[in-house]
Amino acid sequence: MKALWHLDWLRLRRQAATWFLLGGLFLAGLTAIYLGKKFQEQQQAEISRLDAQFQAQCDRLEHRYRENGEHSGYWSYYSFYPVHQPPRPLAALSWGLRDVAPFVTWVRLLGLEQQLYESSLANPLLQSLGQFDLAFVLGVLAPLVLLLLGHDVLSRDRQLGVLPLLAAQGGGGLLRMLAARLLLRLLLVVIVCSLLFGIAMIILQLPPGFDTFAWLFIALLGLLPWLAITAIIAARSRSATGSLAAAMAAFVSLVLLMPALVNLALSTLFPVPEGLELTVRQRQIMHDGWDQPRQPNYDRFLAERPEYRKWPTVPEKDFTWRWYFAMHEVADRSVAELVNQHTQHLRQRHAWSQRLAWLSPPALTQSLLSGHSGTDLDAHLLHLETTRNFHEHLKAHFFPLIFDETHFTAGATKSFPRFQNSAPAPAAPLNPLPPLLLAALLLPFARPRPVLS
């Protein structure tokens, strides 16, 4: 085996293509790390500015009511509170949905549902072009390099006519030779990937712990199905041109076509009714409230919220903040069932996409990596849940004051609630089985053609 490796390495070393491919991979990786750094900085900067922005808003409010103060209803009507989900350090390596789904949401005491679906400020053209993160480099480009380095390890010698000679010399036959040569190439790719990861750890200041290395582990495991695919192509093809065409076919179908087809099928077969339905319905109920007798709506509120029975009635004619906020709450409650369904639908589609990811190794790797980095749909849904909880917290804080017709005076904003719970989304449980299984299923097909065929 050692002799096989040595000979092969001598040859590989002299080929320009080897260095071109490995160097290209390395450069792409550096670009991805640079872009990841930018991504990380922008997100951290956004989050770190929230406190000051909230404070500036409070100051404006204080200024506005500086002379005589104002009813607590006005103060809460005009104050927005930032809720955010900090990134896990690994988010810089696999961005997942974090560049399209908002991770900062400003909420106020009004009906929540209409506040949740605001898109973040972004350029949809850039988003539609795709992401260039390290997960892309390690999950898509590294397999490509492996394919291009390894598809012709037998067919080239076969074409040159030296295969019988080599097979006779090496001992152990073609399978052994194939294994030795492919493992050497895998090793080279793994070295470049690990080197990139090391650089990423330093530049992105990733904590050197289990979590961080687990990411690299998943990314490298993702190469195993590709090793099997490369082995099949190398073993079965007759000519180098044929094996190159086969390698490209494998790459295109597994990287470009299969995930894209799965996505199209999922969004066609599992249509998720948009948040629009919620907004339209909630808006209707909220505004109808103005044209209906007030007490029945208020009673509906009390039925759901017995803790506010202390304030049993609302006047029919005059405006009260008590009635106003109660009406918003009723509108939110009336779409609660729809909200549940919406979330269920999303989770269902997400689960299917994870299941179907088996059809495509890069989709599988992307899905595992973004799960581990806390940047997938689960993380976004968690952010929405956190936002809902904080909104509840706001209500619990302000409702008793508003219902008591409290008058806030200068300095009131000092005791306004602030979002405290800022834990990143947890990593999805680590499951190394899928790529291993996929590789194990594919490997038996890598039986070399006979030496003289």
């Binding site: 872009l35 808003q57 400020l121 972004a122 103005w290 890069p362």
Partner: protein, 468 residues
């Protein structure tokens, strides 16, 4: 006796050689199958979403018209929605559809962004792309031409047939033209299949698509010619067909897979957009300077009040021939809309810088250029999105001012904002009517992308001719 030109026989021979290979038939079958699948699923989805949107549009209108008697400013907060028009052509190239908000909630005092983008509800694996007929053309068609054509000259040199051919043709030449034409003829069934998808969409009864669909087909033809010439050029430069294949695959990968993503990353790193919180904070600051137009005693509006009184020769707002509060609302809306426009222009400037950078990089990638053209023609590009946002804002302004006008003329100052006006007055406000997408709108600003295709064609033709 004039010697017959060798071009046509050579072309016929080349095309026939391509179809003698089993791989060609296999590829054609796969390509057709994928095209059908992508066309069907994509078409199904677009049709359903169009219907859904039409239903929502109807519902929102119905809700608007069935409002009870209301104070006009209540109606202004009840608001309405602007829907981005959807063309069936989006089934061909969905472009930025999934990432751009398609619906704007329109209400008084604020400009809500376009929301309800689909992308945030998808899985992260969806970022690997979504299958569409246009994607198949941009990526797969090019690769098919590469795989079938990389040996067009190199293989002849390798096998030594090249000299034989040259000897047969004689001094007049025509080898390059004949074989290149043959390669294009050989792959033309793929082009035909690709062109069928936009053409089929025409039969689904959406008017005004024909011209855009035909330009789309023209762009597609140019693209196929481009790749045929490129493949021929590389094949004539390289000594072996394997080397030609390797070079072409690098070109294809670089332009089709790497460059678009790198361009996106670099553009957002080079010209970062302010985040939404920052944007809103700045907006809040600017808006706060304006004063509150709900409050007719707000000191920021004293000058406005005095001027209004002077103009009508009265000394008290109660004596004005209309409700001063409505007039004040109109003034306030005008000011806040101006601030929005000003802040939004800053965002648009950054977006334009980002887009310009991507455009510059598109000189390196014909597939990016074709994508730009396809998106424009299908109305799924960034310019169409910006147009939608701008038109929706213009509509919002006129919508709100109409309601403020109603408040001014149909409510009384003394009534303290509890007066309701006849619901039928709301019905006369019309729905948002976006400018329909037309060919000239689609082509405005597309010169650079056509030039990219033209330049690549010219370069490839020059290179190929010189060496062949």
């Amino acid at each position: 006796m004039p010697v017959p030109s060798p071009i046509l026989p050579l072309a016929r021979l080349e095309a026939r050689l391509i179809w003698r290979r089993r791989a060609s038939w296999l590829l054609l079958g796969l390509f057709t199958g994928l095209m059908l699948l992508a066309g069907l699923l994509s078409g199904l989805r677009q049709t359903r979403e169009r219907e859904q949107q039409a239903a929502y549009q109807k519902l929102v209108r119905q809700q608007w018209e069935s409002q009870p008697d209301r104070h006009p400013h209540r109606a202004a907060h009840y608001g309405t929605f602007a829907f981005k028009p959807r063309s069936l052509l989006a089934a061909y190239e969905p472009g930025i559809e999934a990432f751009a908000g398609r619906i704007q909630f329109l209400e008084a005092h604020r400009q809500n962004g376009a929301n309800f983008a689909e992308a945030s509800t998808l899985s992260s694996a969806s970022r690997l792309g979504e299958l569409s007929p246009a994607f198949l053309v941009e990526c797969v068609l090019a690769l098919v031409i590469v795989v079938l054509g990389h040996g067009v000259f190199a293989a002849e040199v390798e096998s030594g047939r090249e000299r034989l051919l040259r000897a047969q043709i004689g001094p007049r030449g025509g080898l390059w033209a004949g074989k290149t034409l043959g390669l294009w003829l050989g792959i033309s069934p793929f082009v035909l299949i690709a062109a069928l998808v936009p053409l089929t969409l025409l039969f689904f009864g959406e008017s005004g698509l024909a011209d855009r669909a035909s330009v789309l087909v023209a762009a597609l033809l140019l693209y196929s010619v481009l790749w045929v010439l490129l493949v021929a050029a590389v094949s004539s430069v390289c000594r072996t067909s394997q080397a030609a294949l390797a070079v072409l695959i690098c070109l294809w990968l670089g332009g089709g897979v790497l460059l678009p993503r790198a361009a996106a990353g670099l553009a957002s790193a080079a010209h970062p957009l302010p985040d939404k919180s920052e944007f809103n904070a700045r907006l809040g600051e600017e808006i706060a300077k304006l004063g509150d137009s709900h409050n007719d005693k707000d000191p920021a509006f004293i000058a406005f009040k005095e001027e209004t009184l002077r103009k009508h020769g009265v000394s008290r707002v109660e004596d004005l021939p209309f409700n001063y509060k409505g007039q004040l609302m109109m003034a306030g809306e005008e000011q806040s809309a101006k601030v929005f426009a000003q802040e939004h222009a800053k965002i648009e400037a950054v977006l334009d810088q980002q887009t310009a950078l991507v455009r510059r990089l598109a000189w390196l990638s014909p597939s990016l250029a074709l994508r730009d053209l396809a998106m424009r023609l299908c109305g799924t590009d960034a310019a169409a999105q910006q147009r939608f946002i701008r038109e929706a804002e213009a509509y919002r302004f006129s919508f709100i001012q109409h309601l403020n006008h109603l408040q001014r003329d149909h409510t009384a100052y003394a009534e303290k904002n509890v007066q309701r006006i006849d619901e039928h007055l709301f019905d006369e406000i019309e729905d948002f009517k976006p400018t329909p997408h037309t060919l000239s709108l689609a082509l405005a600003g597309s010169a650079a992308s056509w030039a990219v295709l033209g330049l690549w064609i010219a370069l490839a033709a020059l290179l190929g001719r010189r060496f062949a």
